[in-house]
Amino acid sequence: MIDQIRAELFKLRKRKMTWIMIIVLAAFFCLIFFAIYGITASPPARMPEQALEPMRNLLTFPDAFKTIFSTAQNIGAILLTIIVASSVGNEYGWGTIKQTLIRQGGRYQYVLSKLAAFIVYALIGIIIAFAIGFCLALLTTQWINGALNWDFMTVSYVGELFAMYGWTFYGLFVYILLAILLSLLGRSAIVGIGGTLGYYFVESIAVSIFNQSGGWLAEIPNYLIGHNITAILPTTLAQGPFASTGELPSTLYASIVLGIYCVVFLGVSLYLFKRRDITA
C-alpha cells in the first residue's frame, strides 16, 4: 500500500498539470489580493468609507488569515477537482489502470492509495496557498497599516489557524471524493471534472434560489455540500463568487452532513470499483 501511495505521488509530482495548478493558485491569490487592494487604494467615488473598512480588514492581519483559507478552499476545490478527476479518469483512457491492476490486484487498495495521494497533495496545496497568501498579506498589511503588529498571534490564535487549516482541508476532501466517484462512475476524466464542477456551480445558484423561495425549499441548502462547507469555513467577504448565501447551519451540523457525504461517496466508489470489470 505504501509503495502504491508513493507511486501515485510520483505520478502527481511528474505531471505538468500539477505544477500548472499551483501556478494558477498563486495567480488567483495575487488577483484577489491586488484587486481588493486596488479598490481600497483608489475607491470608486461613490463608495462609502464604511464599505472600505471591511475590505481593508480582508487584506490585513489577522483577518487576512481567514481570507487566505477561504480563498484556498474556493479555488482549491476547482483545481483539485481537475487534478483528481484527470488522474483517476485518464487511467482508463491511457489503459494504465490495467497495467496497475495486473501487478497488484487489490481494487480497494487502488482507490485508497489514490485517495491517500490526493490527501497529501491537498494538504501540501493548502500549505502552499497559505505561504502565498501570507506573503501577499504581509505586503498588503504593510501598505494599508504602514506596520506589522503581531500582538494577536497568541498560542490560542495559532490553534485557531490549525483549526482553519483542518476545516479548509475537510471542505476540499468532500470534493476530492466526489471527483473520484464521478470519474470511476463514468470511467473518464471529463465526467469527473464536468460532474463535480457542474455540481459546484449549480449548487451555488440553486442555494440562492432556494433561500429566496422560503418555506421548506429554504431548508434544502442545509443538506447540500457547498452550503455546509461555507458553514465550516471562516466567514469573510472573500469566499468567492460561488460562496453559499443565506442562514448557515452550525459547524457541528455541517461537519456531520459533510461526513455523511464522505462516507457515501467513498463507499459507493469502493463498491463500484470492486464490482466492475476492467475492460478499458
Binding site: 509503495d3 502504491q4 508513493r6 507511486a7 510520483f10 505520478k11 511528474k14 505531471r15 505538468k16 491511457w94 489503459g95 494504465t96 489502470i97 490495467k98 497495467q99 496497475t100 491492476l101 495486473i102 501487478r103 497488484q104 490486484g105 487489490g106 464490482r275 470489470d277 476492467i278 475492460t279
Partner: protein
C-alpha cells in the same frame, strides 16, 4: 504431467455480458513450461479469458486456478508470479519509459533498478529509456510493454498479441525471446492472430470459437490430426464407397487414381486395415500435414457446420 505441474486450470469458465455469451464452459489446462497458444477469431473470447485469468474481469461462473491458487481468493499472490502484455498496452504518456517502468516496478514484487536496466536492454530500449513514452513508436511501446511484463521475472507470462506493431525484425526478436523464455522454463500463454508465429513458438495450442474450445492439444498432434492422406489403391471406386461410409473421415476426394483423404494422419493404420479387410489394397500412401492456419480456418469459419470430434 501431474497436478503440481498445472499453472493454469479453468473449470467451466463462463462469462456473460447480458445476453451475449463471451466465454462458455471453458476448460483449459496449461502445464508448467508450456508455451501455450490461445487462438480464435475476433470476438471469440480470447481477451475476455485472458482478462479473467488476470483478475480484471470476474467470471459469471466457473473457476480459475493459477499455480493451484484460486484467482478469486489469491489474486495478489498469483500476480506476484505473473507478467502480462495486454492488447494496446497503456503507459503514462508524460513519463519516460524508465519512469513508467519504475512506477510499475514499485508495485511489482521485488524489482531493483538493475532489473529495470536489464529488461530495457533485453527489449533494446536502453538508449531511449529517458525519452517520453508519448514519443515512442508503436513498436517501441510494444517492446516497453514486454519489458514491463518481464520486470519482476515472472514464472507465468500472458502475452496478448505481443508482436502488434512490430516490424519483421522486431517480430523475429520477440519470437526468439518467447522461445528462449519457454526454454528457461517459463510458462507462456500467448494470444496471437499470427498463426505462423504460434506454430513456430507454441508447443501447445487451444482454438476457441464463440467462447468455446473447439480444439486443444500439442501443436504437432493438432497439425497431424487435421492432416491429409494421399493414397493409391487397387480399386479406387470401391475404396471411395468404403471410406465415405466412415464417419471419422472428413472428406474423400478422387484425383484420377489417387484418393485424397481429410483424416487424422494417426489413423492411417485404420484406413489400411479397413480397405484390406474389404479386398482393396494400398499401393502407395503419403501423409501431408496441414498448417495450423488451415486447421484454424477450418475450425473457426463462421459458416462451418460443427462436426463431431473425428479424432
Amino acid at each position: 504431467m501431474t497436478i503440481n505441474d498445472l499453472v493454469v486450470r479453468t473449470e467451466h469458465l463462463t462469462k456473460h455480458y447480458g445476453k451475449l455469451v463471451a466465454v462458455s464452459d471453458l476448460n483449459l489446462e496449461v502445464h508448467r513450461g508450456q508455451v501455450f497458444g490461445f487462438l480464435g477469431p475476433n470476438g471469440a473470447g480470447k481477451s475476455t479469458t485472458m482478462s479473467m485469468i488476470l483478475g480484471l474481469i470476474a467470471p459469471t461462473s466457473g473457476n480459475i486456478e493459477i499455480f493451484g491458487l484460486s484467482v478469486k481468493n489469491h489474486l495478489a499472490d498469483i500476480l506476484c508470479g505473473t507478467g502480462a502484455v495486454m492488447e494496446n498496452p497503456g503507459f503514462y504518456p508524460y513519463l519516460s519509459g524508465w519512469d513508467n517502468l519504475k512506477i510499475f516496478a514499485s508495485i511489482s514484487c521485488n524489482v531493483t533498478d538493475n532489473r529495470i536496466k536489464e529488461v530495457l536492454t533485453l527489449v533494446d530500449l536502453a538508449d531511449r529509456a529517458q525519452d517520453k513514452f508519448s514519443g515512442y513508436s508503436q513498436g517501441m511501446k510494444q517492446r516497453l510493454a514486454i519489458a514491463g511484463a518481464l520486470i519482476h521475472d515472472p514464472e507465468f507470462i500472458v502475452l496478448d498479441e505481443p508482436t502488434n506493431g512490430l516490424d519483421p525484425a522486431g517480430m523475429k526478436e520477440i519470437r526468439e525471446l518467447i522461445i528462449r523464455l519457454g526454454r528457461e522454463g517459463k510458462t507462456i500463454f500467448l494470444n496471437s492472430h499470427l498463426l505462423h508465429e504460434v506454430e513456430q513458438v507454441c508447443d501447445h495450442v487451444a482454438i476457441i470459437r464463440k467462447g468455446k474450445v473447439v480444439a486443444a492439444g500439442a501443436t504437432d498432434d493438432l497439425i497431424k490430426r487435421g492432416g491429409t492422406l494421399q493414397i493409391q489403391v487397387t480399386d479406387a471406386d470401391k475404396a471411395v464407397l468404403l471410406l465415405e461410409a466412415e464417419g471419422w473421415i472428413s472428406s474423400v476426394t478422387r484425383q484420377g487414381e489417387l484418393l485424397i483423404l481429410k483424416v487424422p494422419v494417426n489413423r492411417a493404420v485404420d484406413i489400411s486395415a479397413l480397405l484390406a479387410k474389404n479386398g482393396v489394397f494400398i499401393s502407395e500412401m503419403k501423409t501431408r500435414d496441414d498448417s495450423l492456419e488451415s486447421i484454424f480456418l477450418e475450425l473457426t469459419e463462421e459458416e462451418a457446420i460443427d462436426r463431431p470430434d473425428k479424432s
